[in-house]
């Protein structure tokens, strides 16, 4: 072990070292790992990323997805990402800010994507999540529904589902629910 407690000397030395040097806020290990994720992002051309709090705050950002095929072609969907200081031990919190008629996204913006919750692993990264979200738009899945009604329509009547999606994206009512235009 080390010679730790030459206490008196140590105290004097610390007092001398301390004149005025006050480091700023600590960077968390999570921020550093996120820095790596972000600097290595390779986004599909249907996705863009923005940092509303400026270039230095990476812990909150927004991703816009514009599907180039499938039911949601032509729509624009905004997702917010909030990353914790203990990332990647914990998955980012992702919400869909655009109200969408979708079997796996509820009307409050909660997203049912396995890698955001039960299947999150620290080896996954921001890129994986963005691809996962993109995938939800090209292949909505009625087996794991969050929006119950939308899932039932997709399963039983894909044609009706398609026209419901169109109506929602153009801005209008599907059943009792109003959707704002997102095309």
């Amino acid at each position: 072990m080390i010679k730790l407690f030459k206490v008196k000397e140590k105290q004097r030395e610390i007092a001398e070292n301390n004149n005025g040097k006050s480091p700023v806020k600590k960077q968390s290990a999570g921020e550093l790992r996120l820095h790596r994720d972000i600097s290595e992002l390779i986004l599909p051309k249907t996705c863009t990323i923005a940092f509303p709090n400026g270039k230095d705050d990476l812990m909150y950002f927004e991703v816009t997805i514009r599907p180039d095929e499938g039911y949601y072609l032509g729509g624009t969907f905004l997702f917010s990402f909030q990353v914790s200081p203990i990332y990647p031990h914990e998955a980012p919190k992702v919400k869909c800010k655009t109200k969408v008629y979708h079997p796996n996204i509820d009307l409050e913006g909660s997203v049912c994507l396995n890698i955001l919750r039960e299947d999150w692993k620290p080896v996954l990264n921001i890129n994986t999540i963005i691809y996962g979200l993109f995938h939800l738009f090209t292949q909505p899945n009625y087996d794991d529904p969050l929006n119950h009604e939308a899932a039932a329509v997709l399963r039983d009547n894909p044609k009706l589902f398609e026209s419901n999606v169109r109506r929602a994206m153009a801005g209008g009512y599907v059943g009792q629910t109003f959707f704002t235009r997102c095309t």
Binding site: K21, V24, K26, Q27, L32, K55, H89, S110, R117, P145
Partner: protein, 449 residues
Amino acid sequence: MVDTATPPSRSRDLDKLLLRPGNLVGPTFEPGTELREDLKEYVKVLVVGAGGLGCELLKDLALSGFRNLEVIDMDRIEVSNLNRQFLFRLDDVGKAKAEVAAKRVMERVSGVNIVPHFCRIEDKEINFYNDFSIIVLGLDSIEARSYINAVACGFLEYDSDDSPREESIKPMVDGGTEGFKGHARVIVPGFTPCFECTIWLFPPQVKFPLCTLAETPRTAAHCIEYAHLIKWDEVHSGKTFDPDDPEHMKWVYEEAVKRAELFGIPGVTYSLTQGVVKNIIPAIASTNAVISAACALETLKIVSGCSKTLSNYLTYNGVEGLHTKVTEFVKDKDCLVCGPGVLIELDISVTLRKFIDLLEEHPKLLLSKASVRHRGKNLYMQAPPVLEEMTRSNISLTLYELMDKVPKDIIHVTGSTRRDDKKTSCLRKLRVVFKGVEGVTDMDMAGGA
């Protein structure tokens, strides 16, 4: 006959450890009354957390001869704490834990001085933490441990040959309990693994798929999480759920009961609701006592050298019978938080562009396409395009200017490197030292992680 004129000294038992030499002592142990008095006079111990472990720790440390203690905790006393946080009484409910705990121990143990801090650990200046000889942690969250670890490791300085400077080391003793299980560990930054070196030890949190909650709940916990994660947002648009607000908790409980009735699921109770939502595992007073005792002993050993210290991670399991074991974990030599990083000496005229090129040629790094971050500021980002554009103007500036003209500091770089002819991404810590700038000696900081 018993001599009643001179009562035995309160430090009688402690004296047996501190005044006599022995075979099991640490290498630098210097027994004697001076050591005992120094311990009282000069050693300052910070206890982080004044809850189940914190109460025990303050009592144990005060009775182990430490005179200068401080305690920090942001919580107020709740009724449910009283079964094990033995310094608190029913009348104390609603008061600050740190303040009451400090007062109670001072009332009982004469000569000890405990300064309470009723605030968040992040609210304190970094230098507040540098005042202590040792920091003892009685916390219940990974996040708080990670923060204190980063602060303590931030004080660590390395010599030019990458060996830690002894006087910059801020040791920590970390305790933790969950029900009948617990751990005590010793973290000596630069020598034993830090919290971040072994973060993989923590099991992933159990999270239920949202669609299971929405569609096919099978357990009471599913019903509670449905009310907490889905129903709350549906009803309280935009209002954040506060787990410490009893009204909010009651609402979630009632919704969970409705949900459980709908699906015929038994077992939703108010305390289970609190447990699931706040991730609480019932705390056991005796586990806290055992773990805290181990932590207080390690603190005494590290400070005095009166015995070799725990090396370096003790686990305790009292679920069935009793099992305890010590494991020696190893440091991650490239740890971004406690490791030395790669020392790089630069002229103050080096531009960021030139610096990025240098990293590619540096034999220890061979890092191409580097993105550079300094103290929470992105100096240059290779991707995504939006950030590249925002940081592009920096690359013709000198690194010295961009680092606010400090003579030396830590920066972090991300890029790709070649390993076995394969490109792999990597994130590295660098100790940048500017040549010929006043104030630079042959050592420099490891901190800033």
